[in-house]
Amino acid sequence: MRRSNTFKNSVFLLLMLSVLFMGGCATKPITGPKTEPAMHQNSELVSKDTDSGVKIYDPLEGFNRGVYRFNYYFDKYLYLPIVQVYQFIMPDYAEDRVSNFVDNLFEFNNFTNNLLQLKFKAAGITLARFAINTTVGVAGLWDPATTWSMHQKPEDFGQTLGHYGVGGGPYLVLPILGPSNLRDTTGFIGDTLAFNNFGPVAWVDDDGFTLGFTVISAIDKRKRIPFRYYGTGSPFEYERIRLLYTKKRELLIID
C-alpha cells in the first residue's frame, strides 16, 4: 500500500509543479498607450461597498485560472480519451455494475461523515445499504438497497467541516479534480486518508487492488460527470462555475 501511495503522491506533486510553471498570475488586462476606457465601466455601475454572496473570495485567481486551463487540456487529451476507450470496450450494463461497485466502497466515507455529523439515522441507513449491497447485491455490483427505498445519504468531510461552521475559505481549482475551496480540499484529503488507511482498500490491503481501484474509480467518476470544459459556451465559465460550486456546497452543507 505504501508503494502506491508514494506513486500517487509523486504524480500529484508533478502535476502541482507543472501547473505552477504554466499558470501566469497577472489577472488584470494589459494596457498600453492606445488604451481607451470602455463605454460602460464597472466602477460606474456597481458601488464598491456592495457586499454579497455573489462575489466569491478568490485571492488565488491567477493560479486557479492556470489550473483550470491545465484541466481543460488534461481532460481533452488524456482523461476523456481514456474514458471513451473505457466506454467503447465496456458494455453499458457492465459500466453500471462498476459504478455500483465504486459507490458501494465509498459508502465508507458516507458512513463516517454521517456519524461525525451525528446523523445517526442516515449513518444507519448507510450501514444497512453497505451490508445489503455487499451481500444481496454481490459485492456491490447491484444496488438492491435503493430499490427497497433505502436511498444513498452522501456526505463528505468537507460537508462535515461545514456542518460545524468551518467557512469555505479561498476558492481553489485543483488539478484534475476541478473546483474546490480550502475547506473542501482539506475534506478531500481527510476522506482520502481515511479511506486508504481504514476503509475497504485497507481491508483488502493489496497494492494491486488499491491502484486498480483508484484508476477505475477515477474513470468511472469522470464518466458520470457530463461537464466539459468550455462546453457551457460562456466566456465567463470560470466565474459561473465558481459561483455554482460555492452555492451548491452551501446547500449540501445545510441539508
Binding site: 499558470g23 501566469g24 498570475c25 497577472a26 489577472t27 488584470k28 488586462p29 494589459i30 494596457t31 498600453g32 492606445k34 488604451t35 481607451e36 476606457p37 470602455a38 463605454m39 460602460h40 465601466q41 464597472n42 455601475l45 456597481v46 456592495t50 454579497s52 454572496g53 455573489v54 462575489k55 485567481e61 491567477g62 485560472r65 492556470g66 486551463r69 481543460y72 470544459y229 468550455y230 459556451g233 460562456s234 466566456p235 465567463f236 470560470y238 466565474e239 459561473r240 452555492k247 451548491k248 452551501e250 446547500l251 449540501l252 445545510i254 441539508d255
Partner: protein, 429 residues
C-alpha cells in the same frame, strides 16, 4: 316517455362518437401557466418517444481561416456542428438553435433524436448569438441583423455539407429552427430561394418571434421588472433566492443539482410568477452578456471592455461579466448595433433596423412560400399583444397553434413532435 328515450338515444348516438374522438387524443400540457411551461422541464410522460443514443458525429468548421482570435478565447478552435446520419439515402434537416444555444443544447439533442427516429439526417447549427458563432462564423461580429445572420448561417450550412457530403446520401433538404432560430430559418429560406443551393422542400418555424426587437424588449423587461429594486439589487435578490432554496433544501432533507429535484421542490414550494419571469429574464441576460462580451472583444473593445487592451488566458473577467449583466439587449441595440449598421450604410436608421428584424418585413415572401409552416403556442410569452393573431392570419392552414406550452416548453411533447414529423413528411395537420 318512450319518445323522450328514443330522442335521448339518438342524441347519444350522435354525440358519443365525437366525444370518444375527442377523448382519443386531446392535447394536454401539464403546465397551464405559460411561465411555468417555459421554465419547467416537460415531465417524461408527455415526452415523445426517442432513442437513447443516436450516431452523432461532431465536426469543426473553420469559416474564416484568416481571422485572428484574441488570446482571451484561447480555447476556441472553430465552430462545432453535429451530424446525425442515417445509413442509407434519406432527407436531411438543418436545425438552427435558439438564442444563446449551442448545436448540442438539451433541446437540440432531443430534436436530433426525434428526427433521426423519423428517418432524417440531421445537421445542427449553433445560434448566431452564441459566443462560438460570433467568434468563428459571424462576418459582422454584431449579431441580431436577420439578413446578415442568414448569410452567415447559409455559409455555415454549405461548409457543413461540404464536410459531410461523402458520409451521407441526401434525397432532399429541409430546414427548421426554434425561437430566434425559427425567425432566422425564415430568412435563410428566403436567401436560399435566391441562391438555390439547397432548394429546401419544407421549412418549419418553431415558436419564432414576430419582431425580434419586441421580443428582446419583453425579455429585458422580465428581468428588470421582476427583481425588487431593479437590476442594481440583483446581488441581494440572488442571495434571497439562495436563502429560499436553502429553506426548501432543509425541509426536503436533501439537495441535488438536477431537473428532477427542482421539479419536486417546485411542487412543494410553488414558485410565484414574478420569480419564474425573472428566471427567464436572467437566463436571457446571461446569454446576452456572453454575446455582447464576445462581440466587443472581437471588434477590439470599447463597449464593456476597454479599447486596445491585451487580455491573456489568465485575465480575470469577473468585472466585465458584472458590467455585461447590467447591459440590456436594448442598450446593446442602441449603443452597438444601430451605430455599427449606420456606419456601414449611412441611409440606415434605427427604425429601419427594427422593422427589418421582423417577419412582417418579409410578409409577402412568407405569404407565397407555401413550403414554410409554423408551430406556435397561443400563450408564448415572447410575443406581444396581437402577434399570435397576426401569425394565424399570415400562415392560415400552414400554422399549428397549441393553446398552451409557453415559449418552446412543449417542443418535445408527443403531439408537437407528431406535427413536426408529419409536416416534414408533407402531410400537414
Amino acid at each position: 316517455m318512450r319518445h323522450w328515450l328514443t330522442s335521448l338515444a339518438l342524441i347519444l348516438m350522435i354525440v358519443l362518437p365525437t366525444i370518444s374522438q375527442a377523448v382519443d387524443k386531446p392535447y394536454f400540457y401539464p403546465y397551464i401557466n405559460p411561465f411555468e411551461a417555459t421554465v419547467m422541464e416537460l415531465p417524461p410522460y408527455y415526452e415523445a418517444d426517442m432513442p437513447k443514443k443516436v450516431p452523432t458525429k461532431i465536426f469543426s468548421l473553420e469559416v474564416f481561416p484568416e481571422r485572428k482570435i484574441p488570446e482571451v478565447f484561447w480555447y476556441e478552435d472553430g465552430l462545432d456542428c453535429s451530424l446525425v446520419a442515417q445509413k442509407g439515402k434519406a432527407p436531411l434537416i438543418f436545425i438552427i438553435a435558439g438564442t444563446g444555444a449551442r448545436f448540442n443544447s438539451p433541446k437540440m439533442v432531443k430534436m436530433q433524436k426525434k428526427l433521426y427516429q423519423a428517418g432524417y439526417h440531421v445537421i445542427s447549427i449553433t445560434s448566431p448569438t452564441h459566443m462560438h458563432f460570433v467568434i468563428n462564423a459571424s462576418s459582422t461580429m454584431t449579431p441580431g441583423n436577420l439578413y446578415e445572420d442568414a448569410k452567415d448561417l447559409y455559409r455555415v450550412m454549405q461548409l457543413a455539407m461540404e464536410e459531410v457530403k461523402n458520409a451521407i446520401d441526401v434525397s432532399s433538404y429541409n430546414l427548421t429552427g426554434y425561437s430566434l432560430g425559427g425567425i432566422q430559418a425564415a430568412f435563410v429560406s428566403m436567401l436560399d430561394d435566391e441562391e438555390k443551393v439547397f432548394n429546401f422542400e419544407h421549412v418549419l418555424l418553431i415558436n419564432p418571434p414576430v419582431s425580434l426587437y419586441n421580443s428582446m424588449t419583453i425579455l429585458d423587461q422580465m428581468l428588470e421588472e421582476n427583481i425588487p429594486g431593479g437590476i442594481d439589487n440583483i446581488e441581494s435578490w440572488m442571495d434571497s433566492v439562495t436563502g429560499k432554496l436553502a429553506e426548501a433544501t432543509k425541509s426536503m432533507g436533501y439537495f441535488e443539482m438536477s431537473a428532477d429535484y427542482i421539479y419536486k421542490a417546485s411542487k412543494r414550494f410553488p414558485p410565484r410568477e414574478d420569480f419564474l419571469a425573472s428566471l427567464i429574464g436572467i437566463s436571457f441576460r446571461l446569454s446576452s452578456t456572453d454575446m455582447i462580451f464576445a462581440s466587443d472583444m472581437m471588434k477590439g473593445g470599447g463597449y464593456i471592455t476597454p479599447r486596445n487592451v491585451k487580455m491573456s488566458n489568465s485575465t480575470s473577467l469577473s468585472l466585465f461579466e458584472t458590467v455585461g449583466f447590467r447591459t440590456s439587449f436594448g442598450n446593446y441595440f442602441d449603443e452597438q448595433f444601430v451605430p455599427f449598421f449606420m456606419m456601414k450604410d449611412p441611409s440606415m436608421t434605427r427604425e429601419k433596423l427594427i422593422e427589418q428584424s421582423s417577419l412582417r418585413h418579409i410578409e409577402s415572401y412568407l405569404n407565397r412560400a407555401q413550403k414554410i409552416g409554423l408551430l406556435h403556442n397561443e400563450d408564448d410569452i415572447i410575443l406581444g399583444p396581437g402577434e399570435i393573431e397576426y401569425l394565424k392570419g399570415l400562415f392560415g392552414s400552414r400554422a399549428k397553434i397549441f393553446p398552451t406550452g409557453g415559449h418552446c416548453g412543449n417542443m418535445g411533447h408527443k403531439d408537437a413532435v407528431d406535427f413536426i414529423v408529419n409536416f416534414f413528411a408533407g402531410q400537414e395537420g
